[in-house]
């Protein structure tokens, strides 16, 4: 494991007794002594601290935000230009076939665009942005900052205790704050379905800042195991599993992320990779769709489980792309792709588990209602 990268919080994880595993080229905590179930429940009830420093932070600059936005819209089907200063939005990099190269967050920071991408894709994303945008836009990875997520109903009070002012932020607001002389870039967002924040902190102060949060009664360190069950219950996609280069945004039920202004008839329609293929799926034309799935009984159905229309015979109609036990739901939950005719809520289909088919119900996402402060 010597070639695995570490984060500014690796030593802290180890001192807390985390079980460390390789993830996207990094040595990351999968769980702490509390265990995945209790870590999950703690985040839903109080506040969980997650090290997401493995994700890529990138800054795009040019002579104006409008210039950066116009250029960035060549890579994503989102309204970047219309995003107000101090606001963040969910986005997707598409490819020529309309498939998803990565999902990301981008924020209008006034004089620059701040982008956060997945760890496993960050080298490719950086290369993509540089190739498409330089030299008119400067594309610089932020390599000297940690990224910490604080999630859960007690996140607001916890962070406000350290960083006065953050309680006034609304979901998807971004801002610059200070903590003991360190400049923090904070967004009110996350990937658990809970209210919370994502905090970019200089690496030199990262461990002290994390320790200060962990010293608060409500805050526990939470590993990747619980992060996965939290985002699954929240109906949120995991790149490389629920979405990938072969899935198009409307198949992935991510059409909401494509604003009107970029759709046919919009002022800045198209102009991103694969626009034609993406638009061909509009109006319910996508041949398959990502749906929520509730297996009957208690046996989890995991990634790779094949789905059928009936209890016996017939060709597969889909596959599970993420699945497991949902601690808050207190039962198995999954997401997957099914042929469009089986995608309606309440449709009963079957998943094949250990050679036997068991009933599965197509269920609206998320499984656990989002708790955002809008």
């Amino acid at each position: 494991m010597t070639d695995l990268k570490t984060t500014p919080l690796t030593a802290l994880h180890e001192s807390l007794g985390a079980k460390m595993v390789p993830f996207a080229g990094y040595l990351m905590p999968v769980q702490y002594p509390l265990g995945v179930l209790k870590e999950h429940n703690h985040t839903r009830e109080k506040a969980g601290l997650f090290d997401v420093s493995h994700m890529g932070q990138v800054i795009l600059r040019a002579e104006s935000y409008a210039a950066i936005a116009a250029a960035f819209e060549r890579l994503v089907p989102m309204d970047v230009l219309g995003l107000p200063e101090g606001r963040q939005r969910y986005g997707l990099f598409t490819n020529a076939a309309g498939g998803i190269e990565d999902d990301l967050m981008f924020a209008n920071r006034g004089d620059h665009l701040f982008v956060v991408v997945n760890a496993a894709c960050k080298d490719a994303d950086l290369a993509r942005m540089k190739a498409a945008l330089e030299p008119e836009i400067s594309v610089e990875p932020v390599l000297d900052r940690a990224l910490i997520a604080l999630q859960g109903p007690a996140a607001e009070a916890a962070l406000e205790a350290l960083v006065p002012g953050v309680a006034a932020m609304r979901f998807m607001d971004v801002g610059t704050f200070a903590w003991q002389g360190a400049e923090l870039w904070i967004s009110r967002s996350g990937y658990t379905g809970e209210d919370g924040y994502e905090i970019s902190v200089p690496e030199a102060e990262a461990e002290d800042f994390a320790q200060a949060l962990l010293a608060l009664e409500a805050v526990e360190a939470i590993g990747l195991g619980a992060r996965d069950s939290l985002r699954l219950e929240g109906g949120l996609c995991l790149y490389g599993h629920d979405i990938d280069t072969e899935t198009r945004p409307l198949e992935a039920a991510l059409g909401w992320a494509i604003q009107k202004v970029r759709r046919p008839g919009g002022e800045r329609a198209g102009g991103f990779p694969g626009a034609e293929a993406v638009f061909a799926d509009l109006g319910g034309a996508a041949p398959r769709k990502r749906v929520g799935l509730r297996p009957e009984g208690r046996a989890p159905m995991r990634e790779g489980v094949v789905l059928y229309a009936s209890a016996e015979g017939g060709a597969p109609i889909g596959t599970i792309t993420s699945g497991g036990f949902g601690p808050t739901v207190n039962g198995p939950v999954a997401m997957g792709y099914v042929a469009a005719e089986f995608a309606a809520d309440g449709t009963q289909i079957f998943g094949e588990l250990r050679g036997k088919r068991a009933p599965v119900t197509v269920t609206p996402l998320p499984f656990v209602a989002a708790n955002f402060k809008r």
Binding site: Q31, G35, V36, L37, K38, G225, S229, R298, A299, P300, R302, G324, F325, P327, P332, R354
Partner: protein, 119 residues
Amino acid sequence: MKYTEEHEWLLVEGDIVTVGITAHAAEQLGDVVFVELPEVGTEVAKDDEIVVIESVKAASDILAPLDGEVVEVNDAIVNEPSKVNDDPEGEAWFFKLKVSDMSPMDDYMDEAGYKDFIG
């Protein structure tokens, strides 16, 4: 008490062998969320996969350690899988086998051997 390389513990009382998983195995599995046990009366052969156990992380199997007949199963762990983490070497036994030929027991490890095995 005897131990298998599959991290089962085996307790012999007369011709009945009670089978569970070790504390080490339970810790490695993480929080157990689902257990499927064989039906009472099932005739099993050594190394048959007769139990499915799912944790928050993954699914795994438990193999029959000997040929025999399942004479009792512990429904308490089906109803409350977390018992497997709470008391793996006590209350959370999995099943009892009635065994006619105990000779394969000699191949399994004793406690000292198992401790060496898990290092």
